[in-house]
């Protein structure tokens, strides 16, 4: 019996001028599972994520979400699709001009035309879910620490009870303890919602904690994928070098040797 795929990517390519960032990505994301994409800086992780979201348009290939083609879809179809998505950005990407609760409820008020009072109640509940008190809701994002901003970003990502949640480098820039707190929250929120999760990270501790499946991207291609528990015995030299953080190996960094 074939697997129930939530997201299916086939031969997806994307170039910026002469620079080819995605060189034929093939990836399956089963429904209800948490897939983590690992890879070095500049390997195409963020571009891949933005192509799925429709923020960037892939040059060729096929991206299907729930069996519907994303590439070339109309703006209204994209808008409808995005109502089922949530996204936690690397820097949280909170709107400076709005308070914390307005940030969390933004998608409900603007995207779903929910009355502000009702949206505020949901925002406060979501903030509580990520361990933030109601007093935080009235603050502005600039008054929050990096960890708190990430938690507000997570609350915003789950505010509309999405089917799919994307996490872009969720632990980057956080201390190890706060990173673990965020990882726990991600696992809890995804489980509570029963959502499909796609994360990109180069933090292996985070990947091990939140992933059901792991895929590695290198030079715009998925070079290995498997269950999270298999990553240490992948038999792939690129994966081994990456997860152990070794400078020597098949992955060549664009750094001039002294």
């Amino acid at each position: 019996m074939s697997e129930d795929l939530h997201i299916k990517m086939r031969d997806v390519r994307k170039a910026f001028g002469a620079k080819h960032v995605l060189n034929g990505i093939n990836l399956d994301v089963p429904r209800g599972q948490s897939v983590v994409i690992i890879g070095g800086s500049g390997s195409g992780k963020s571009v891949m994520l933005k192509c799925i979201l429709g923020i960037l348009r892939a040059d060729s290939g096929s991206i299907q979400v729930n069996g519907r083609e994303v590439i070339g879809q109309s703006t209204s179809d994209q808008s409808e699709m995005l109502q089922h998505f949530g996204m936690l950005f690397q820097g949280a990407a909170l709107f400076d001009s709005l308070t914390v609760w307005e940030n969390v409820s933004f998608g409900l008020i603007q995207g779903k035309n929910m009355p502000r009072g009702e949206a505020k109640d949901i925002a406060m509940a979501k903030l509580a879910q990520v361990g933030l008190g109601s007093e935080v809701g009235e603050l502005s994002p600039a008054e929050l620490s990096g960890g708190m901003q990430k938690r507000v970003g997570l609350a915003r990502a789950i505010a509309a009870d999405p089917d799919v949640i994307f996490f872009d480098e969720p632990t980057t820039g956080l201390d190890p303890i706060m990173a673990d707190v965020i990882n726990d929250l991600i696992v809890k929120c995804v489980k509570d919602l029963g959502a499909t999760a796609v994360s990109i990270t180069h933090d292996m501790a985070s990947a091990r904690k939140i992933a059901d499946k792991i895929a590695m991207i290198y030079k715009g291609e998925i070079i290995w994928e498997g269950d999270a528990i298999e990553v240490d015995a992948s038999g792939n030299a690129h994966v081994d070098q990456f997860i152990h953080g070794r400078a020597d190996g098949p992955i060549e960094m664009d750094v001039l040797k002294p």
Binding site: K50, L53, G54, I55, T75, S79, L82, Q83, F85, G86, M87, F89, Q90, G91, A93, L94, F95, D96, F106, G107, Q110, G111, K112, R156, F166
Partner: protein, 257 residues
């Protein structure tokens, strides 16, 4: 050969930039008219673009009106035409200096602010976040600024015209010895509706230019703080040049008819 290749790349880049700007203008105009409209955001922008620009526009207009009166008086005495000071001040302010100076001052103030705000939102992924929250960034960020600028600039120019003429009146009556009643009568008798109306039409176009250039450069900014700085500079420079160019074209069109 390298020179020709470099020239070719430069020309192609210019053509691509013009194409991108045209698409951006088309999308901006479309989203100004297509629902949903955000009245609260438009009002907020009207306060920031219009109300907050009143001091700078008012001061500029006041001193420009005063200087104009002095210069026309100095020039006029050479031809025994001192009596034309009030009429030429009114004409100069309403037709040209009011809209152009208000446009340039607001371009410096507002275009830069819009480019910096949207540029920061771009580099911190806030614009991408808007898209993921089912909100069209053009509708939410660009359209309210364009609508507010097009509505506010004519109002600012009405204020600039009034204060500029008043500046000329104060200098004319207090410093140059004109009779107050005669100065006002000459101004009112000489001014026609078309003089004021043409300035208002120009200012609405200038408002559009200011908002679109600020939004375009901010929306497409790249490369962190340096990119935002570059976007801000480009927004002010391009808006100012386009205002002066559009002023010539509009003046030709309005007064040839």
């Amino acid at each position: 050969m390298n020179f020709i290749a470099a020239l070719g790349r430069f020309v192609l880049e210019i053509c691509a930039e013009i194409g991108r700007l045209c698409v951006f203008i088309k999308d901006s105009v479309w989203h100004c008219f297509a629902p949903p409209v955000y009245p609260r955001l438009i009002f907020d922008q009207m306060v920031r673009i219009g109300y907050n620009s009143l001091p700078v526009v008012g001061l500029t207009a006041f001193f420009t009106g005063g200087v104009l009166a002095l210069q026309i008086y100095i020039g006029g005495t050479r031809f025994n035409a001192e009596s034309l000071v009030s009429s030429i001040v009114a004409l100069g302010i309403t037709r040209e200096l009011g809209p152009v100076l208000a446009g340039l001052m607001v371009a410096g103030r507002v275009s830069a602010a819009i480019a910096a705000e949207l540029g920061t939102m771009r580099v911190t992924e806030q614009i991408d976040a808007l898209a993921t929250l089912s909100t069209n960034p053009f509708k939410y960020l660009v359209a309210p600024r364009v609508i507010a600028a097009v509505l506010c600039l004519p109002l600012l120019v009405v204020v600039a015209d009034t204060i500029g003429i008043m500046g000329g009146y104060i200098v004319g009556t207090k410093s140059l010895g004109f009779n107050s009643t005669v100065y006002i009568k000459n101004t009112v008798d000489f001014l026609e509706f078309d003089d004021i109306f043409s300035g208002l039409v120009k200012s609405a176009v200038f408002g559009f230019i200011i908002a679109v250039m600020g939004c375009y450069h901010g929306y497409n900014s790249r490369g962190g703080a340096q990119g935002v700085g570059r976007a801000t500079t480009n927004a002010v420079v391009s808006a100012s040049i386009l205002i002066l160019s559009a002023n010539y074209v509009l003046t030709s069109l309005l007064f040839s008819s």
